[in-house]
Subunit: 298 residues, 2 copies
Amino acid sequence: MLSSSDKNNKYFLGIDGGGSKCKAIITSTDNKILGTGISGPANPGHGYDQAVNSITESALLALKDAGLEDIALSEVVAGVGLAGVNLPVLFEQMSNWQHPFKRMFLATDLLIACLGAHQGADGAVMITGTGSCGFSNVDGHPFIVGAHGFPHGDKGSGAWFGLQAAKQVLLSLDGLIPLSLMNDKVLDLLSVTNGVELVEAIAGKPAAFYARMANLVFDCAEQGDELAASIVAEGSEYINNVARQLWRQNPPRMSMIGGLTPRLKPWLAQEIQDKLLEPLSPPEIGSILFAQQQLALV
Amino acid sequence: MLSSSDKNNKYFLGIDGGGSKCKAIITSTDNKILGTGISGPANPGHGYDQAVNSITESALLALKDAGLEDIALSEVVAGVGLAGVNLPVLFEQMSNWQHPFKRMFLATDLLIACLGAHQGADGAVMITGTGSCGFSNVDGHPFIVGAHGFPHGDKGSGAWFGLQAAKQVLLSLDGLIPLSLMNDKVLDLLSVTNGVELVEAIAGKPAAFYARMANLVFDCAEQGDELAASIVAEGSEYINNVARQLWRQNPPRMSMIGGLTPRLKPWLAQEIQDKLLEPLSPPEIGSILFAQQQLALV
């Protein structure tokens, strides 16, 4: 009878760990998904202990979902893609984690998203969700545009659109610019009635809170509101420029992913839209493809 | 012999509590300053315990500085001006403080700055330091423009100028906009050499950190850098509009105060500059004037 350690990389774990949740999948060697798990935030920049706990918890949930409770984490090869580890200090910290897996291969959330979108092949992705960034992976050369975080970066992201809306509504409530359709929508969404209450509601809030206000900017722009349309135009032009910068890296394919994509994509320049292709697989599959590529190298 | 409580409001304490420090002065009935004290942050929005500790500590330091160690806080009438208490929830929290003073009269940092600048008379102030706002006090009617906080408000403030600089440098390092004179100055100031290090240095930092980068924006604008000049123009135009909004309240006088004033004032519209008058007293004197006005009412 084979001991656990003799089983030759039979199970793979794919982790996609972001600022709000951590997704895990378990696959067998043929990359068929056997089970999935979701846990809490896993960006080590927002808390190392929380990140490693979320990764472990989502992995155990995925094993349970697959009916593989008898398989230990120490029998599983893990591809772990995480937000935040594009910063060297966080990459090093996570690399030093005394992880429970058979092997762990650590990558940025950007790389695993790109590998997933293009099924392990070269390509580029633009990610517009709570944050924003562009990434290409061509001939083993990773290239990043943006991914700077909030509020100093992440232009064209959900948080950025929401922050612009909040700023403009506050200026309007002070009488410094005209009213826009966004005023009532922002106040209604946050259940407040004036500027003082609005400030109380938004003061000190993280990016995910601001991202809740992104959809209403697009709603107002689509209803012809000039100020909302100018915000959408500014954010879209930034993403257009990110795409142009990525195309200069000569990726064979480019995809756009993230929660804001359905709203933002129709506002991009037509030639940018025309060249965007649907992602082939989600980022957590990209994590497994990454682990398998790394295993093949060693 | 008189007991302490029989001394008829002989000593007044004036507090100017902001987000980075708390200033206290002790005066006698003729408003002659007998002693001063400085302690830590006192904006209750950043921590209630810290705020009340800073107020008490600065008050004790001022008494000691005045050689009045034998006077208890319970013998002192306090005018307490605080950042943050323009938000009703924070005003209520501080009002409920079981304070150690004989009497405490609580006001916003805006009102005490305005009372100080105009020696207790009606007027208006524009405050441009780490944050920004406009305030007028005419016929007992307070009027606020801005004072919304960072990063959603406080346009034209030190933090706002610094954030614009950081944003533009990051866009430039990504190749999305041309280099500006600000690039080297921002990297040098923060002792970093590239975009990744810059993001590590600024991620999650508070307004006061960003405000450190404000001066270099003005330096670059004065050296002819177009991008820096456009940031200064945008911030200045906002402050111009704040001034115009305040003049509509018909204040007899208007002053501009705060650490960024010497840099920003020369960029304001000439007709705005021409009507600005020097503040007559600092905000902590305004706190004492406020306490004395309130005592006269009761």
